[in-house]
């Protein structure tokens, strides 16, 4: 059963070097093994990577181009698309979305950045308005797009279903690609932050040294001065044993099942920093009789989207789609424990990339607790259970959970467990938004956004925080000093202990 113990790190080296061995399989028009259904992924996407087809593809706009001459679009039928061709220049046509905006400004009032920074023109400008402006060839993307934290709350607020975050991702990618100085400190710093997986992989080779060095005063002073990484932030500790190392050492799956299978998308953080979350996932799912698969995988792309590094994100996506789709072909659904990873695979992937099988991955991806709530009688399982020691939790719903309709699931799931009090600390944003709060120039804004959450956490009864998102957890810990847990860990303690 090689799939249980597949060592992703071998392939990682390829990815990190930028030589993508898997690319060939992607442009292959015939359905590969493990792709359950065909045809539905063949729709234009925004981003066409530079696959050697020339400078034009460097621009992130390229949907129509993708429909007529992109890397994997040879047999696409132009008749299948809405022929709205008012504006010059090839584009994924987001005009319908732009036209759906009736300027109610709900997006602006939901924007946590606009609330603390009046220099930020808000999602209505960044989305539909800028989309129209940049129909003109000579119009640059406004630099303020880099102040968008990609929390995607505007998507949730818009009563007209304008694809705001898709527009932001597109504009940000275009800005970084075409207008950002590639040798600037900001670009280099953002690239490093976006490619957290690369640094984390290196650091976890020498976890103790890395954990020390990354938080060593003089090193941090130098990092702030040279890279613009705020010295106030504590770098997360690197685990001495990564999740994948643990998985390998335990001999992979301990439950086998042909009809209950899940492929775990652990993401970078559960692997390198909080393997206890990944272990909880495995133990809980095995408790419910699932065979857990851990396919090779790279970054979900979340930090890359937020930094406009769409090429990096696409490269990683190709690996993820290939391996996850293979698992889907073997009967698995894909489970993420990080709500940003699950959102990326479900929403941003099909919105931004045109990779064979990407729609199948989107349709088969779930967040870990969500999946159990749909497929198991979790309520019945938890009824009458009791946590050994009484504990109150201050729960913060990550913005990206909100967008998937998952913002209340932890509170609801544990409501009836004895000795557990779960208090929702409100709908404010934690302010860190992944890599956003890791930038010197954004640090203060990030803390100001988070202020409301910190206050509500302090007001809450519990002194242990809870959230699904690893960077929200960082911010919660940074602002309050609380220990922060993942709902899976509590589920492990209540049902799988």
């Amino acid at each position: 059963m090689t799939r249980h113990t597949d060592d992703g790190d071998g392939k990682d080296a390829n990815g990190a070097n930028g030589t993508d061995g898997e690319r060939g399989g992607v442009s292959e028009p015939s359905t590969g093994p493990g792709v359950p259904e065909t045809g539905r992924d063949e729709q234009p996407s925004i981003f066409v990577p530079d696959d050697g087809s020339g400078g034009e593809a460097a621009a992130t706009d390229g949907g129509v181009e993708s429909a007529t001459g992109g890397s994997d679009s040879a047999e696409l039928d132009p008749g299948a698309y809405d022929p709205v061709d008012v504006f010059p220049g090839g584009d994924l046509d987001l005009r319908e979305g732009a036209d759906s905006c009736y300027k109610c400004t709900s997006c602006d009032t939901s924007c946590p950045v606009a609330e603390v920074d009046d220099e930020f023109p808000g999602p209505k400008f960044q989305g539909p308005e800028q989309w129209r402006l940049k129909r003109k060839d000579d119009h640059d993307i406004d630099e303020s797009i880099t102040s968008c934290s990609n929390c995607m709350r505007c998507d949730d607020a818009c009563p007209s279903s304008v694809p705001l975050s898709q527009m932001h991702n597109e504009a940000r990618g275009q800005f970084v690609e075409a207008q950002m100085e590639k040798l600037s400190v900001e670009y280099v710093r953002n690239r490093i932050l976006a490619n957290y997986r690369t640094s984390a992989r290196l650091a976890s080779m020498f976890p103790r040294t890395a954990s020390f060095a990354m938080n060593f005063g003089p090193v941090r002073w130098a990092m702030e001065k040279t890279l613009g990484i705020p010295k106030e932030r504590d770098f997360p500790e690197f685990a001495t044993e990564t999740f994948r190392e643990w998985w390998k050492a335990r001999g992979g799956a301990q439950v086998e099942s042909s009809d209950k299978r899940v492929a775990y998308f652990h993401g970078c953080y559960s692997n390198y920093n909080t393997p206890e979350v990944g272990k909880a996932m495995v133990r809980v799912y095995e408790h419910f009789g699932y065979e857990v698969m851990v396919p090779p995988q790279k970054c979900s792309g979340t930090p890359m989207f937020a930094n406009g590094m769409l090429k990096d994100a696409r490269r990683h996506a190709e690996t993820n789609v290939e391996n996850m789709v293979e698992a889907i072909g073997e009967g698995a659904d894909v489970i993420a424990s990080c709500t940003s990873c699950s959102l990326s695979l479900r929403q941003e992937y099909p919105e931004l990339f045109d990779i064979h099988g990407i729609e199948d991955l989107s349709e088969h991806t779930y967040e870990a607790l969500e999946y159990l709530r749909i497929h198991e009688d979790l309520e019945g399982e938890l009824a009458g259970t009791k946590l050994a020691d009484e504990q109150s939790f201050a729960y913060h719903a990550p913005c990206h959970a909100r967008n998937q309709g998952l913002s209340r699931q932890a509170v609801e799931t544990f409501r009836d467990v004895d000795n557990v009090t779960m208090e929702d600390v409100g709908d404010s944003c934690s302010g860190i938004s992944g890599t956003y709060g890791w930038k010197e120039e954004k640090y203060e804004k990030s803390m100001k956004i988070g202020e409301e959450m910190f206050e509500h956490m302090e007001d809450a009864e519990g002194d242990v925080g809870m959230t699904e998102c690893p960077t929200c957890a960082m911010q919660m810990e940074h602002g309050t000093g609380y220990e922060i847990k993942h709902p899976l860990q509590l589920l492990e303690e209540t049902v799988a202990a």
Partner: protein
Amino acid sequence: MAIDSDVLVVGGGLAAITAAISASREGADVRLVSHKASTLRQASGLIDALGYVPATEPAKPLREGPPTAGRELDRDEWPDPEGPLADPFEGIDRLPETHPYRVVGADALREGLDLFDELAGDAYRGGHTDRNALVPTFGGTVKPTARYPAAAEAGLASDDRPALIVGFRSLTEYDARAFAGRLEAAGVPFDVAGVEVEFAEAFRADAKVTRLAKALDHDEAIDGVPAREALAKAVGPHLHDVIDEAGGVDRVERVGFPAFLGDDRGDEVRAELADRLGADVFEIPMGPPSLPGLRLEDRLFDALDAEGVKFETGNPVVGIETETDGRVETVAVDRKGRETPYGADAFVLATGGLVGKGLDSDREGVREPVLDLHVEQPDDRYEWFVDDAFGDQPYARFGVRPDERGRPLDGDGGAQYANVFAAGGVVGGADAAREKSASGVSLATGLVAGRQAATEATQ
């Protein structure tokens, strides 16, 4: 396996929340699913019940033939609506028989308002009487409304104390001087003046109201001066700007601001400003984006939480998944392209009207898109509307037509599904914009739909 509850409420506005809480209080296990963040954030925050009874018959017979959009010279003539009504309950009998108030009964409105009073607590006023209050809104009109935020209390038009209205050049949608002029023209019983002051100029011209509210909430320093102090200092020199009819100058006793005086700490902000100015401070409800709407949304969702109702936003209900014997068993929720079944013993549809997208229309007709419920409408599209924009527009009353239990009727007059109930804007029969009845209809129909759904589910 479906995600199950006794009652599933579809929608996130006032009607949905009222239905969810009403059902929960009848002992049902309730889940609320809202496609997007609540539309309450677009609402003024005023809770109206019935302000006017508009004429349903024209003053002279309508011209034969289709409307001409004003191209013909023989215009429609419609009598002015009756009102403003001093007492909303007193006008209910004069509404058309198919009006939701007539269908579910005046008591439903009364109980709905009682429930709202309980949920809103000290954040709202008006519950001490059946009578309407007259609240100035930012268009310079005076709106008859049953309940209003405590923040608007000092601004009531029935109050005869002289008032100063404050505006900011950078808030382009709100012109304090024009506003004061229109109030005067409307014949309010007090002296009023509008003034534009320097405060919001410290912010970028298109700063969001949430930014200004946050700055006041946290009393952030504006050019070195704490925001609340800076605002009071800007207003201070104008406290004697109001001149009465005789030419006398009185110090104003109340000062009105556009509704951005803080979010979480609005009471604190108003109290500090009042203290510094030596005058009562009030907010003038604005159009969207609306802080009073956002505050109400927060309060009502907290109430849902306290009531034990499960709720989620972010994914739409897209249709019926299974039904048997005239009952809906599960509906499909679209979770990012994948449909997940949600099961319940009874369902409440509170998805809003044409603006809220609970009703959809094209050249072929008007539809209820979630459960495909019957929507009564003329076959001929030209009969959807009349020439006079302010006339009795048939489209304004489009929607599902419920029985007295709140169950939408099919084309033959029977309940379309035995276990589906409807509330709020999706219910037709009211001309909410002309009547000023949107909130009251949501409360009355929400209360009935919620209770009946709970009864249906738990019997």
